[in-house]
């Protein structure tokens, strides 16, 4: 006969709950807990975070697409870094010589589209022209690096020829544009130069005021 404590221990061991049961019951309790006491994170995820993330993605995708596709996004535009970044990524992932030639040809066309947009809005400037020129050079260089003698190369050459014509048009228009509409800072400099040579002593107060008013170039431009 065993002594008392070992016999009690045997009964205790015999009545031990199954390990699986403990785990399964905890899983059920855990689920019930989550349903009964939804955590702040859970609430936010469902009531706030998801809509906000969806909205952000929507906006970012929309803004990104707009920045990439629109010729109005140029160096002065607030979305220009987005566009520049996307183009850079595109360039990084394009590895093959023919792919790079195609990429730079596309970039050349995009710079020309931007130039045309700026010409139409009378805002073209030297940095834009230089950018088009650089893209043209890169496209030519990339095309020279390809070995292919096929239709694709011929098609790219045609696009470059067309681009060249459009680029020349932009150059001509920009020269005309600069002649017709001097910039405010250019006007200001011209007027300040003129003022040095004007003797104001013989002018009336109204004439002096009018002359000073011209200094910011506003009235001159209005005329």
């Amino acid at each position: 006969m065993k002594t008392t404590i070992p016999q009690l221990k045997e009964l205790k061991d015999h009545s031990k709950p199954a390990e699986d049961f403990e785990k399964v019951l905890w899983a059920e309790l855990s689920d019930s807990y989550d349903r009964k006491y939804p955590s702040m994170v859970f609430c936010l995820r469902h009531r706030f975070t998801v809509p906000v993330v969806v909205l952000c993605l929507f906006v970012m995708t929309g803004v990104g697409s707009y920045a990439y596709a629109s010729p109005s996004v140029t160096q002065e535009h607030v979305l220009f870094p987005v566009k520049d970044g996307m183009e850079w990524m595109q360039e990084v992932v394009t590895r093959s010589p023919s792919g790079r030639a195609g990429f730079h040809t596309r970039m050349m066309e995009r710079r020309i589209e931007e130039g045309e947009y700026l010409i139409n809005h009378n805002t073209v400037s030297l940095p834009h022209i230089e950018r088009i020129d650089a893209s043209f050079a890169q496209a030519l260089s990339a095309l020279e690096g390809t070995d292919q003698e096929d239709e694709a190369r011929e098609e790219m050459l045609n696009r470059l020829r067309t681009g060249r014509v459009r680029y020349e048009f932009i150059l001509t228009e920009s020269i005309e544009h600069e002649r017709e509409t001097p910039r405010p800072e250019e006007l200001r400099n011209v007027l300040l130069d003129l003022r040095v040579h004007i003797d104001e002593s013989g002018l009336s107060d109204d004439e002096k005021r009018a002359l000073r008013g011209h200094e910011n170039g506003q009235e001159f431009i209005a005329e």
């Binding site: 006969m1 065993k2 002594t3 008392t4 404590i5 016999q7 009690l8 221990k9 045997e10 009964l11 205790k12 015999h14 009545s15 031990k16 709950p17 199954a18 049961f21 403990e22 019951l25 905890w26 059920e28 309790l29 855990s30 019930s32 807990y33 989550d34 009964k36 006491y37 955590s39």
Partner: protein, 171 residues
Amino acid sequence: MQKSDFKRFYHKHFDRVYRFVLFRVNMNKEVAEDLTSEIFMKALEHFASYDPERSQTAWIMTIARNRVMNHWRDSKNHVDIDDLVFCLEGSDGSQDAESRDDIKQVQKALRTLDPKDRQLIEMKHLLGYRYKEMQEVLGTKAATLRVETHRAMKKLKELLTSVYEDDHPTT
């Protein structure tokens, strides 16, 4: 209330609650598992409103006791669960014959014991309570409980000897 608090509470009391129930449902493991699940579901339901000043042990054991009572009341068999404790087990094919005999003897002896002594031995040696925890549930000083449990064990030993002699009469 944090989920981790409830998890700690669950793992601390799971074994004891299960055994407490099992000893009162004829050692029927399936019934014990069902009732244990319901007891902890009920505890979860009221855990947020649980008074931290109150002993967790006393609280969960009250829920367990009430649930077992309702179980027997629903089956219209018994209403006093103390009469049911250590009723002999149901089927368990995994134990060998000698172990089963030992278990039956100790269950038989426990049933013969005075309810107060039986409760002390059950809490201390089968459910694994400390005397301090027993004090929270029973409202008696831990030192007194230690002495009373020791006495109860002596009585159980005598009963076991008597049960053994009944089962194995000398020729």
